[in-house]
Symmetry: C2
Subunit: 228 residues, 2 copies
């Protein structure tokens, strides 16, 4: 598929005139990252941003003593690294490919040039950043105001919501990574999953988790109830 068609199909670029798609295609670069490869590290100069064509990307920070907080795990067709481009500084977190991941790369300077000429594109980006802000706000809320069981309950419900509220969740991340997403460590996650299973809120089987008691789990997520 040629670059213009790919770009025309990306949600971020909906509503643009065809010639704008062509212009975007002119500045975009196709790049391939293999599993474990690093897109950028915290502190790197932000020279552009990426859009995932397929694969999975992890955005994260490490503490000096090695604990990892994962901010997002992203899939096609999501963009990442876009915020740093507009504050014109460096990346505040790191990004690596979890699997083979082809992306489009948009150089910062050229891209902001385009935005200057196209308010629709600007509004798209504004919408995107707002959404990111909202997600981060929720993350802060979870980390600061909720205990691990509540965070886990919220996470499970969220995964199930993504899957049309079906009670069966196929984990798409390792439990190690899940711990990183929830701001905790694998041991703690393991223990809490066990407790939830003991109280018949969920049933776990390898990579599959089944929600048995959605109401109770919801109360847990909202802090209205605790694991006993």
């Amino acid at each position: 598929m040629d670059m213009t068609s790919i770009i025309a199909g990306l949600p971020l670029f909906q509503g643009l005139a065809p010639h704008q798609n062509a212009t975007l295609a002119g500045i975009a670069q196709r790049r391939y990252y293999s599993k474990g490869q690093i897109f950028f590290s915290e502190g790197d100069n932000a020279d552009g941003f990426y859009i995932i064509l397929s694969g999975r990307v992890k955005i994260f920070k490490l503490s000096p003593d090695g604990k990892e907080q994962i901010f997002h795990i992203l899939e096609a067709p999501e963009p990442f690294g876009e915020a740093a481009v507009f504050s014109g500084e460096n990346f505040p977190a790191s990004a690596t490919a979890l699997v083979e991941t082809p992306v489009l790369f948009f150089p910062a300077g050229k891209f902001t040039g385009l935005i200057r000429q196209d308010p629709i594109l600007a509004l798209s980006m504004l919408g995107l950043l707002s959404l990111r802000l909202r997600k981060l706000t929720t993350l802060v809320e979870n980390l600061s105001l909720k205990e691990v069981p509540a965070r886990l309950a919220a996470y499970l419900l969220y995964q199930s919501r993504d899957n049309e509220h079906k009670p069966v969740i196929e984990l798409d991340v390792s439990k190690n990574q899940m711990a990183g997403l929830l701001g905790t460590i694998p041991e703690t996650l393991s223990r809490i999953l066990k407790r939830m299973a003991e109280e018949n809120l969920i049933k776990t089987d390898a990579r599959t988790i089944t929600i048995l008691n959605r109401k109770h789990l919801t109360d847990l997520a909202e802090g209205l109830r605790k694991l006993s």
Copy 2:
């Protein structure tokens, strides 16, 4: 001062043509909020955003059992509530006036209309949102990867940095609020301030904190060292 001049002086609106300032003035509303008054509560429909003319505003969330996480404490001439406008939903947090606070209010619909016509304005907003995102990223990092002493150390250094690296910090928030900003509670904050004073890192006196050992405090903030 008339509305157009006020608007022309706001950092967020720098670089606009004079007629754009006038248009902005046409949609802006002056509003006065007294101490404790609520701008909006979490979940409220986002009908517009605000710019502080003077005073102080607290952006925060409450947990079901009453703990408060403060996201920002803002002063003139900072805007707030802007992100919710572009994701077109509701406010993800609440905002109240800490003191008498006059603001400008910009209705969402009219404002996005202006952005559609002025890419400079759009770029300003993009820069603003990016900066917010960056600050939130730091907050997440602090909450998830650092202990309270490290967060406090970082906060003190940040305050001193704002004040040209002078070692004397005049607290502009109550210690209760400071605890809320750091994601902890007043008791814990009090104890850690005491420990820092015992180790001669700082000296406290009512609303004044003096940094005695910047190097050690920096190491603490970066997790290279701990309070003994």
